[in-house]
Symmetry: C2
Subunit: 297 residues, 2 copies
């Protein structure tokens, strides 16, 4: 049955009972606002919104379960970047009147699975219809302790630069299945002093210059050291995007201990020193990744 | 200059310095996540997301300043319904590659003006482009004290039903200029025991049955008492929507005092008793207002 025939209220009635809800949720989707218990003794509230668009972030034929997974995991990857703990999510679905109700249910199943993976409650949902491409916007709220929050801005010249995992080739498959590095990020800030961090969503070639600019430093990469996905060329690993790995800066005095303890804690996930921050603030020569609006029309 | 030529980063660079930011904002738009001080000693966190779509909630020729105003005020009206205080907003703009950068700046000016009106900080913004209609999604986070939160669910048979302001005719002009009844709602819950409340966004004919259903009661309206916008017929006042007035239920024992004190506090804004909640839970005969997806395609 098409959304046009189902009606928004009835569709929500069908979806609501299946949304993940934690114990701190007082009122979830279905009232004017969602109401939740305030996280107690957690210094900072953290907020992030992100949207994915059909034809830009997923192809029209992609499975709704995977699309929902990706839509939720993208803002959660930003929580990983900040070393924050996500707790509550709000969903906005812009569909078409022709979208099947069953498609929407599967999309929500993907959103819910991804949310449950990190104990996130889906506390609000809205659907609207247009004649344009399907768009899913997810806003996430959570917390971070004052002394564990990491921004892009704290990097210093001399800091070592690390990336988790392998770069490149994500568009082939991984971008619809990735798991944000929240556990790794929380472990990092519990045990080390991380100076600046980002998640690699737009590509190393775009995101590293952003981190350097925010920290007001330059950078030098040892290109031959980049951890490449098997079969991927260096240029592609730098420019393709959608890796959702962590990029971070740490004092070189902590690097050795970090590498030793990481191997014990996360034996299956590579951690690679790719270079360091330096004083040269000039135009950097990494190939550019994906920048919205600058693609040829 | 079109968005395609401006680039997302450069556009955000231009917009960021002008966003309203309160003192509790630690990091606003521009980092991976927004980070704000946790509201202290405020029992509940309140969350709401809402979107408006070109051709559905505003006409293509509408002024971007007014569109931005409406996009922000709609979720704030839901805060009024819950008697909550909004504090932080995240914006998602789905534009087209053909949208002018100047149009986006004016839209953000409207969003910012509306946010400032209620001391809301805009802490995150995202733009994406599609070939579909322009869509603006706004997520708002704030708080409410445990004993002042009002849902739709607490109405009891015998409660008096009140509405603020006048109903109908909003589509002609008011829907792009309305001011959510947050001050009125906060005054109500400070001084009275409000049992159930909603904002009238979809129309009295749609929203009142929702309140009654959530409270598991029926209702009886004295149609001749409805406060009509001048020149509007009763049927239209019931079915048109976009009034953004408050509808609430209160014990009849508090009604007299409410009406007396309201006239002193808000002499320019009518408050009208339109009927009461009762035990008859059956199909109610109000004309239907706007329901998404059930319009003829």
């Amino acid at each position: 049955m098409k959304l046009r025939q189902v009606g928004e209220d009835r569709l929500l009635d069908q979806l609501l009972p299946h949304l993940p809800l934690g114990k701190t949720v007082v009122a979830g989707a279905g009232d004017d606002c969602a109401v939740v218990e305030m996280p107690a003794g957690r210094d900072f509230l953290v907020l992030k919104t992100d949207c994915i668009v059909e034809g830009v972030h997923f192809l029209p034929g992609a499975r709704p379960l995977n699309i929902g997974w990706k839509a939720m995991m993208r803002p959660l990857s930003d929580f990983a970047a900040a070393s924050a703990v996500p707790q509550f999510a709000l969903i906005t679905l812009i569909a078409s009147k022709q979208t099947e109700g069953e498609w929407v249910k599967r999309l929500y199943r993907g959103l819910s699975r991804a949310a449950k993976r990190f104990e996130v409650s889906i506390v609000g949902g809205e659907t609207s219809s247009t004649r344009g491409p399907i768009t899913i916007s997810v806003s996430v709220v959570g917390f971070v302790e004052r002394n564990r929050w990491v921004s892009r801005r704290g990097g210093r010249a001399g800091d070592d630069l690390f990336v988790t995992g392998r770069l490149g080739g994500a568009l082939k498959r991984k971008h619809l299945h990735f798991v944000p590095r929240i556990a790794e990020s929380r472990w990092l800030t519990k045990n080390f002093s991380i100076r600046a961090m980002m998640d690699l969503s737009d590509s190393l070639g775009v995101d590293l210059p952003r981190l350097a600019r925010a920290s007001q430093v330059g950078f030098a990469i040892e290109v031959k050291n980049l951890p490449l996905t098997s079969g991927v060329k260096i240029d592609n690993a730098i420019s393709e995007g959608e890796d959702y790995e962590l990029l971070f800066a740490i004092s070189p005095r902590q690097s050795k201990r970090l590498q030793r303890e990481w191997r014990k804690k996360f034996p299956k996930l590579p951690l690679t020193r790719i270079g360091q921050l330096d004083r040269k603030i000039e135009n950097q020569n990494l190939p550019r990744g994906y920048v919205h609006f600058q693609q040829p029309g």
